[in-house]
């Protein structure tokens, strides 16, 4: 019951914010446009709220890209406007309507999460507005033939397959117990892993969001006696799960996906998180090309976190298009479709589906060491 009140309050707050934002925009409109170079783009995602830790680095990466561009080209400025959705599809939808309804926006960076991307991609498609997501990885986003959606990361199918390779070749597991949290992301990626594992998949359980007690899951694991455990889901449930596993005396290797590529995971799970493997279609920050890592550190006083390099790349794809004089939505979309250049996270080229070209996807395995997520090795699919 209480949750509804929260929603209602959130809706009121959001509409107030939107009215405010709309008011600001009316004033700005005159200054933008009328120029054959530069233009205005939007970025949306969870910049506040419980999941913002995963998203803020990519936004900061995008802001850095815009800043660098504007400093180098003062006569061709690009404007990036932020829209905070808290990762919530119901909050992302009004944002999509607002952005597409404003003719001065030519493209959008987002969504950061799969749910909000799925909820809004039809709106952006109807407006012919190109989307470049730094971090939405659900397979279905590019499977439905949407014309405008692009992403600069590998999808969950690739990550699931890579995790299977890792479990088979590096962990040398003969039997993997696969757990998912029932969300689109968690269940989807666990499914992909199970498919790729084939005969190695032995035993499964589904938990739910906000669950804290995993006694039943643990007794199932004990009964199955696997030699690796994989978890599709997020920190909120994974932290207590790993804690209880280790406390129950199960030292079996534990692998999570990019949902656990989150500094709060080792913090929440404490010593139990040591040795946990996390896969991510994201590059270790220090491996990023060019001077990205150093620039990011100089700008924000810390290393780029999850998807920082991807956020930078996503922004650059659009910025370069604007700088090339693509001043209509259709032109910018065509530009992105034919993009083929070196980014800082990977070499970027999009397949027809909007996925990054499969040969260029990068998946890394990270290990939790001393409470930090440290890069371990790149997982080669072939």
């Amino acid at each position: 019951m209480r949750r509804k009140y929260v929603r209602a309050l959130g809706a009121i707050g959001l509409s107030a914010a939107l009215i405010g934002a709309a008011g600001c925009q009316a004033e700005e409109e005159n200054s933008a446009g009328g120029n054959d170079c530069g233009g205005k783009i939007a970025i949306f995602g969870a910049f506040s709220g419980p999941n913002s830790g995963l998203v803020i680095p990519s936004r900061d990466g995008a802001l850095l890209a815009v800043k660098k561009h504007n400093e180098a080209n003062p006569d061709c400025e690009v404007e990036l406007q932020e829209f905070d959705t808290q990762g919530d599809p119901t909050q992302a939808t009004p944002v999509a309507n607002q952005v597409t309804g404003d003719e001065s926006f030519l493209g959008v960076i987002g969504g950061a999460f799969s749910g909000e991307s799925k909820a809004t991609m039809a709106v952006y498609e109807a407006a012919g507005m190109v989307m470049v997501s730094p971090s939405a990885t659900a397979i279905e986003l590019t499977a439905g033939g949407n014309e405008v959606f692009h992403r600069v990361v590998g999808n969950d199918a690739v990550q699931g397959a890579a995790a299977a390779v890792y479990l088979r070749d590096v962990v040398q597991a003969k039997k993997v117990f696969v757990i998912n949290d029932g969300t689109t992301y968690g269940a989807g990626i666990a499914d992909e892993l199970t498919k790729s594992l084939g005969e190695l998949a032995g035993g499964t359980d589904q938990v739910q969001e906000k669950q804290v007690n995993f006694a039943a899951t643990i007794s199932k694991i004990k009964a199955a006696a696997p030699d690796a455990i994989a978890y599709g889901g997020y920190t909120n449930e994974a932290a207590p799960l790993v804690k209880q596993l280790r406390e129950a005396g199960i030292a079996t290797p534990f692998l999570g996906f990019d949902g656990l590529y989150d500094p709060s995971f080792p913090k929440g799970a404490g010593a139990s998180a040591e040795g946990v493997i996390v896969t991510c279609p994201c590059l270790p920050p220090d491996q990023a090309g060019g001077t990205f890592a150093a620039d990011f550190e100089a700008e924000y006083g810390g290393p780029p976190g999850s998807y920082g390099a991807e956020g930078f790349d996503a922004a650059n794809v659009l910025i370069e298009g604007l700088a090339e004089g693509n001043t209509t939505r259709a032109d910018l979309l065509a530009w992105v479709d034919s993009y083929d250049k070196e980014g800082v996270s990977k070499s970027l080229k999009f397949a027809d589906s909007g996925d990054v070209d499969e040969s260029r996807v990068v998946i890394w395995a990270y290990e939790i060491k001393g409470g930090e997520i440290t890069a371990q090795q790149e997982i080669k699919l072939s």
Partner: protein, 342 residues
Amino acid sequence: MRGRGFPRPRNGAKGEKPVNFDALFGDLAQHTVDGLSKGAIYALVALGYTLVYGVLRLINFAHSEIFMVGTFAILGTWSLLGVADNPPIGMAIVYLLIGLVVGALASGATALTVERVAYRRLRRMNAPPLIFLITAIGLSLVLVELFALWMAGFFSGRGFTENRLVIGIPPLLKQETVLSVAGADITNVQIIMVVAALVMLYGLDQFINRTRYGRGVRAVAQSPDTAALMGVHQDRVIMLVFVLGGLMAGAAALLWNMRYGITKFDIGFVVGLKAFTAAVLGGIGNLRGALLGGLLLGVIEVYAATLTRSTWEDVAAFVVLVVVLIFRPTGLLGESLGKARA
């Protein structure tokens, strides 16, 4: 990466049985032990709902946050004392006792505040029951956001910053199997949890039934007006039941920190909902019912999760609740705080 808001049922791996009786009955004793220890926390929190309901005929929806405050107060104290992972047993016991005192004090004080802010003035004005429901929910939201925005950061040692993340608590007692009964491995922590719940209930039961204050509580529960005529100070009795509920929630918070080793600003929501369910299942207003309901709910959940998937535990719990209420509308043991036998 994230796909919130689009839950979709999935079929598991091939060969997975939808209902696995072997898993349940092959190790029934173990699942029962797991369930009882899970239910112990529900039971202690349920006592708070039941006490307030028994006296005021109101559900205190802020009670879940009284529990949440306890978990944070204990966490804060432990980090202040510099508790490291798995300290020597002597120190662990000292820390646990300090935790118990701090948790009980923090939750008790929060409960008093809730009564003072959300209830007392309205009660004097004879507000209809619905109003109390709203003020309690309002206060509960305030507490949750207060912790999300400032206090969770403060108690986890990061100053008054926003912190909506899972916060780890150092494990004090290494969970070890100390007893094996009928194939069930029982850990030290599980024993502490169930024994603690039983001891707290026994103490509370004796307090309500044997002491002068307890008589006051029963009198107000039975008939507030008559009790007032007999010289029972109603406000004090009401404050007393809130404090008692808070103490139990504080103890539950300690058990929670010991067993799960994590907390979060919204941790109270699910626990509170389950504890409320447990109170209704056992018979709201009935102390022993709260204990029975809590333990039973824990066991049902673990059985259901073992039989199918963890996703189904809530479904099973509420199905049992509905069935019980159809046949016994006042819960398993009935409402009886006001009755002579409590």
